[in-house]
């Protein structure tokens, strides 16, 4: 499977958001917030070790790597809107190899076109991507 194919979920979000105006994009993000509001997350992982910095509300992220060397992420935020965005990011960029993750740039995040909604949101999502890349790098360097 190509990287492009593995980014299918991400492309799905990009396509969904592309045709929406500003107000509809906000409603889309709110729908994501409502959809994932009660998703379970390991209470034990909501600690300083799994806390990422750079978002306005608290975000915790878990990371795993499978036998094929693909990275998988799960995340949670105490803010519902950010929690929805965390799910968009982890769903978008899970299942990639370390090299594929490292090749992602903030331009990918820009393609979601959420910066028009608020700059802070886009900055937060860029921080999430960098955090995911960092977790993957640490894993590859055996620094878990």
């Amino acid at each position: 499977m190509t990287t492009l194919a593995r980014l299918g979920k991400f492309q799905h979000f990009v396509d969904d958001l592309a045709g929406l105006d500003d107000e509809m994009r906000f409603e889309y993000v709110l729908d994501m917030a409502k959809k994932h509001k009660d998703d379970p997350f390991s209470p034990g992982a909501m600690d300083d070790e799994h806390l990422m910095h750079g978002c306005m509300s608290r975000v915790w992220m878990l990371h795993d790597i499978d036998d094929d060397g693909r990275h998988w992420f799960r995340g949670h935020s105490d803010g519902a809107i950010v929690n929805g965005l965390v799910h968009m990011m982890t769903e978008s960029f899970s299942g990639l190899t370390g090299e594929e993750l490292a090749a992602l740039t903030i331009d990918q995040v820009r393609r979601l076109n959420l910066g028009a909604m608020t700059t802070q949101r886009q900055v937060g999502m860029m921080a999430m991507l960098k955090h995911m890349q960092k977790l993957a790098r640490q894993d590859r360097s055996g620094a878990r």
Partner: protein, 420 residues
């Protein structure tokens, strides 16, 4: 040279405060946001500007701009006069004995840093104590922490009560023989608590300590008279007083300022420079190195004249009534917790909700045209003290009205429907 504000009242007037006329003086309040009426409830972060201020700044650049203090030509003379008139206006507004005791800074943060760097470095040594409270803005915490790291001074922090009230006994117990400076907010930017600064100043002076008052959240809501307060330093930011951003003021007692070394070196602050040594200008220029914020200072003076035209007592009465209205209205929304309910508080309501995070609330009410602040409000130690990560803060200005509050309450109901 500055036209009267349309909402200007006569001093001592019995005319009711006409908030609709006041709002008409602020052009930005008429602009819709997302197609909705703007309910601007973030004046504690930065206030909107009346047309009188916008006009004053435009007039500077359009008609009388040049660098100040050095030019011998017409425009420089005009700009210098307007700039120094602005200093006199600030001095008059805060009851300063002398205009040269008013130092223009970028904001209150720079003013506190100026005192910490100049007065602090030359007057404090290891073991000396600076006393603050738990409700301070980071701008009144971090400069002293830097001095603690550099000089080994001790930062003492007085606790506040669960409702955000000042705790007199605990505070005064912390004033001791090593206390050299008491540095406190006049009004809390998160809780609205008004500190009893007159009592604090008297107690500090009795112990031989100087007092700095951070007036950022007081200067726009009440009459401030530094001579009556008898404080030693008073700082504020102009942009919270309906003036431009980039201008603030430090007031200090003449004798203290005279004895302080310069904060920054450069143009305008010198008397004579040679490679053998430099002698410094007198007050206030000793502390105003480089080209100052000329238009901003003149704009601040216009803002002060505007506020004076409405009358600080009338503004305070309007805001107090509206704050009570807002507290009552918010009490009707289930699931809200008000953070900070000290008696006599002013201007701000901080809240948390059991149905949504502060950031979710701010993001959703924004779409309803309501501008409120969410986060730690540059007061993380206070957030920890109150047991919250973040709050939503709605803050009032002289143009705030009941419709702003009603719009906020209605928007909160939407948050409950969406995320509750």
């Amino acid at each position: 040279m500055n036209g009267p504000a349309t909402a200007m009242r006569q001093p001592g007037s019995n005319t009711p405060y006409d908030v609709a006329a006041v709002r008409a003086d602020f052009p930005i309040l008429a602009r819709p946001v997302y197609g909705k009426r703007l309910a601007f409830l973030d004046s504690a972060a930065s206030a909107q500007k009346p047309q009188a201020v916008i006009d004053a700044v435009q007039r500077v650049y359009g008609e009388e701009y040049a660098n100040v203090h050095r030019g011998l030509y017409f425009l420089s003379e005009r700009a210098t006069n307007a700039f120094e008139d602005a200093r006199e206006t600030v001095a008059r507004y805060i009851g300063a004995p002398h205009p040269h005791e008013v130092i223009f800074t970028r904001n209150a943060t720079e003013a506190i840093n100026l005192v910490a760097a100049s007065w602090g470095r030359s007057n404090l040594s290891a073991g000396d104590e600076v006393l603050i409270t738990e409700l301070e803005h980071h701008a009144n915490i971090v400069p002293w922490q830097l001095l603690a790291q550099e000089r080994g001074i001790v930062l003492r922090v007085a606790p506040i009560a669960d409702d955000g009230s000042f705790m007199a006994d605990a505070f005064y117990r912390l004033i001791g023989p090593r206390t050299k400076l008491v540095s406190v907010a006049h009004v809390s930017n998160v809780l609205g608590t008004v500190l009893p600064v007159t009592d604090i100043i008297a107690a500090a002076h009795a112990a031989g300590a100087w007092v700095l008052i951070d007036g950022c959240q007081a200067i726009q809501h009440m009459t401030v008279d530094v001579r009556a307060l008898d404080c030693d330093f008073y700082v504020f930011s102009g942009h919270k007083l309906y003036g431009p951003s980039g201008i603030g003021a430090l007031w200090g007692r003449e004798a203290i300022l005279e004895a302080m070394p310069p904060y920054m070196g450069g143009g305008d602050m010198i008397e004579r420079v040679s490679f053998d040594g430099t002698t410094f200008a007198g007050l206030p220029h000793k502390f105003e190195a480089g080209t100052p914020a000329i238009a901003q200072a003149i704009g601040l003076a216009a803002a002060i004249r505007y506020v004076e035209g409405l009358g600080t007592a009338a503004i305070a009465a309007h805001e107090a009534a509206l704050l009570a209205y807002m507290a009552d209205a918010l009490a009707s929304v289930p699931g809200l917790r008000l953070i900070g309910t000290a008696p006599g508080k002013v201007s701000v309501v901080s809240l948390s909700a059991d149905f949504a995070h502060a950031f979710d609330i701010a993001a959703i009410v924004d779409r309803e045209g309501v501008a409120v602040r969410s986060g730690h409000h540059c007061a993380q130690p206070l957030m920890a003290r109150m047991g919250v990560e973040a709050t939503v803060r709605a803050s009032l200005g002289l143009y705030s009205d009941r419709q702003d509050v009603d719009q906020f309450v209605t928007a909160l109901e939407r948050v409950r429907r969406v995320l509750g």
